[in-house]
């Protein structure tokens, strides 16, 4: 395996893992599209803390 494959593969894997984590967190948080009109009880900084 070349260094190029290792680095590019790691970057892609990290991006995908980040996307999965973000989706799971979003789903826990009401599962909406992430707009400000969601039914989340918390808001602003409190909302981010809950996440």
């Amino acid at each position: 395996m070349t260094w190029g494959n290792l680095i590019a593969g790691t970057v892609v894997a990290l991006m995908l893992a980040g996307a999965v984590v973000a989706i799971v967190r979003q789903r826990k948080h009401g599962g909406c599209a992430g707009c400000s009109g969601c039914d989340c009880k918390f808001s602003g900084s409190d909302c981010r803390k809950q996440r």
Binding site: G4, V12, L16, V20, A22, C38, F42, S43
Partner: protein, 711 residues
């Protein structure tokens, strides 16, 4: 213990704007009633011990709709430590009705006289000390939009926590005595004065909460019988007494400027005119889409699509990967999968930002609430309520809060129908699909997007007519009473914030759901079931798409790529564009090097593309919206019915458009397509124009009742 401070007031009095100013949050605000349907919490800026709660707007503590129940239950059962009552200074009489009830809860109340700057502009004057004295509360002038006075109101409210708060006496002596007597019969409970008033009104819900012994209930009934004369209902008497009190308070503390036809009334004489309202609305929406899709937005999108994601980023990344000697499949995944897929979606960001800016401007200046009023007239003639249009207005940003906003509708069948039809309105996520088809097949013509918006409204009206004639949705539409806010020049900071919030949500989706989906699509498109790298036409994706594609042949796009794009659109609607970006991006790289949009033009006629677009706009919404439908319907069967209805509606619409369009364009009668199209058209016309059995039954009942009365 943290202090619980509640913001309570009438709808559209500025509660959420003040909540945002106090907590630094960015909750959705709107210039029409019913934007907030859930209780929101946030910590006060600079004092984390104070929890500020934004409650849905209510006109009184006698709730009718679901979101009003949220406010009443919270105020009565959970008892906040202090209430800041937001009163719209420009509509003080109506707003003070709630104030007279809030002061009966035994919780300290501070009045934030909001929109005080608008009042000053009108030339009206309020004697704050006198007003406060008569209402027994401190009155603080505020402007939540400009964040003036809000902090002062909260500081005053916090200073009152734990102190006794005597209620005001707004009824005549006889009623006051009756209320004192009823209160003395109640056990030691918070808000006993309020309960006494409610029991006097014979409020069944309040009585249910208290579960009083039979003898106490009998004594209360005797007090009511003794006090109420002339056959009036106690509820009417209490309401009349409250309004008498309010008019005395207003006449002694408010000085109104001489009445004149204000600019809002002058504008309304044109935009809500019986004959001009609809053409003006159509023209406004055309202009919005012309600016965002065809002119300004299109310039940005062309650059992002053709230059940024077409040349700069792919060339740079390909060069980098080649230099690093990465494997060809990895280069394919990154360039053809991720960059083409995510880039295809992000390319439409400039157009979306311009559209969101225009819509936010229209919402904030007060025009969109007029549209709800205009729509009520049209909806009502089809058996629908104008109340249903408010959720649809919200759904132009995202269907999820739009579906949730259906809670403002008290009639259950109207509410279900609104939940079912809100998904027809093009949300922000569908805009890239519209922009892609308009750009690739129709030279960015503004009429394509405008027609999609109008097709969404038409789908709502047609569904209303059809469903109202069924047992499930029969009944009169809910009455729609809405106060039209004055027109004003929007605050640019607020318009920009809404625009950027919606834009950011779009980018976040591109970096999460769309990214993951494009990688999966790329994998499925490059590998067969034995996990060997193959040509796209032999891939897993092609075999999945090919199973379903015959179903869509009558719609003009029985092509496996279009079918797969539609399926992935169920995850998130932007995925339709991302998937086509990956599928055609790979084709572009592998075949003759034609541009992505050229390949779309090669595979689809304009008619087929328009049919594809309409199907994707009207069919079942994304998973997040399906979840919202499930939550609001509170039934799996209703949810399945909604999804099935939407998909069937989309299928029939696209089939009719494609088959009849093809017949009119070519003049050739192809019986395989035209016969089912004619049968379906006759079926739809039958559903639309058949007699409403349920309406007739109701009329007959009315006549029978009338007959009985006559006997």
């Amino acid at each position: 213990m943290p202090i619980k401070l509640s913001l309570a007031g009438n709808p559209n009095s500025g509660k959420t704007t003040m909540f945002n100013a106090l907590t630094g949050s960015d909750q959705r605000v709107g210039n029409w009633p019913g934007v907030t349907v859930e209780r929101k919490e946030g910590k006060l800026k600079g004092n984390p011990d104070v929890i500020v709660q934004d409650l849905p707007g209510i006109y009184s503590l006698s709730p009718y709709t679901l979101e009003e129940v949220v406010s009443r239950n919270y105020l009565i059962s959970e008892q906040p430590d202090v209430i800041v009552n937001i009163v719209d200074a420009t509509n003080i009489e109506r707003n003070l009705y709630l104030t007279t009830q809030l002061t009966e809860l035994g919780i300290p109340v501070v009045i934030a006289l909001n929109m005080f700057d608008d009042l000053a502009k009108r030339g009206d004057k309020i004697d704050l000390e006198k007003l406060g004295g008569l209402l027994g509360c401190t009155v603080i002038p505020t402007s939540a939009v400009r964040n003036t006075g809000c902090q002062g109101a909260v500081e005053k409210a916090v200073s009152l926590v734990g102190k006794e708060f005597p209620h005001i006496h707004c009824f005549n002596e006889e009623i006051e005595n009756a209320l004192i007597e009823i209160e003395s019969l109640l056990p030691e409970i918070p808000a006993s004065r309020w309960y006494a008033v409610k029991l006097f009104e014979r409020d069944a819900k309040a009585a249910e909460t208290l579960t009083l012994p039979a003898d106490v209930s009998a004594k209360i009934e005797a007090i009511i019988e003794r006090t109420v004369k002339n056959g009036c209902s106690p509820e009417e008497i209490i309401a009349r007494e409250r309004y008498d009190f309010i008019s005395k308070v207003v006449s002694s503390s408010v000085t109104k400027a001489p009445a004149s036809l204000d600019p809002s009334a002058r504008i309304d004489s044109i935009v809500t005119n019986r004959f001009l309202a609809l053409p003006v609305f159509a023209a406004v929406m055309f202009l919005v889409y012309y600016v965002s899709i065809t002119t300004i937005g299109s310039m940005g999108t062309d650059w992002v699509n053709d230059v940024l994601f077409g040349e700069i980023i792919p060339d740079f990344v390909t060069g980098l990967l080649e230099k690093a000697q990465t494997a060809l499949w990895l280069q394919g995944l990154i360039v053809d999968g991720i960059i083409h897929g995510v880039g295809a979606v992000l390319g439409f960001l400039p157009q979306m930002l311009v559209l969101f800016l225009c819509l936010s401007f229209l919402e904030d200046c007060g025009y969109m609430s007029r549209v709800a009023f205009i729509m009520d007239r049209i909806f009502r003639s089809f058996g629908l309520s104008g109340k249903s249009f408010i959720p649809m207005l919200i759904a132009t940003g995202c269907s999820v809060p739009g579906i949730m906003a259906s809670r403002t509708i008290e009639n259950e069948s109207d509410r279900r129908m609104t939940v079912l039809t809100t998904g027809f309105i093009p949300c922000g996520a569908k805009l890239p699909v519209i922009a892609l088809i308009a750009g690739a097949l129709f030279d960015n013509a503004a009429w394509v997007a405008t027609s999609c918006y109008l097709a969404g409204i038409a789908a709502v009206v047609i569904s209303g007519v059809i469903l109202k004639k069924t047992r499930l949705f029969a009944g009169d539409p809910s009455p729609f009473i809405m106060e039209l806010p004055s027109y004003h020049l929007p605050l640019w900071s607020s318009v920009l914030r809404t625009t950027l919030q919606r834009g950011w949500s779009f980018v976040r989706k591109a970096a999460t759901i769309i990214l993951l989906s494009t990688v999966i699509i790329w994998g499925l498109q490059n590998f067969n079931w034995r996990f060997q790298m193959v040509d796209a036409n032999d891939s897993m994706l092609a075999s999945i798409g090919s199973i379903l594609s015959p179903l869509f042949v009558p719609l003009g796009w029985g092509n496996w790529r279009a079918v797969v794009a539609t399926l992935t659109g169920l995850i998130a609607k932007e995925n339709v564009v991302g998937t086509l970006g990956v599928l055609y991006g790979v084709a572009e790289a592998a075949e003759d090097g034609s541009e992505y949009w050229d390949l779309l033009r090669r595979d689809y006629s304009r008619l087929a593309a328009y049919s594809f677009l309409l199907f994707n706009l009207l069919c079942a919404p994304c998973f997040a919206a399906v979840g919202a439908v499930r939550r609001e319907m509170m039934s799996a069967r209703w949810t399945l019915f909604a999804l099935g209805y939407q998909t069937a509606f989309a299928f029939i619409t696209s089939l009719l458009i494609y088959q009849f369009g093809k017949f009119f364009i070519s003049g050739v009668f192809e019986w395989q397509g035209m016969v089912p199209a004619i049968v379906l058209l006759v079926f739809v016309l039958y559903l639309l124009f058949r007699k409403n059995k349920f309406a007739r039954k109701k009329d007959r009942n009315a006549v029978e009742l009338h007959g009985e009365n006559l006997k």
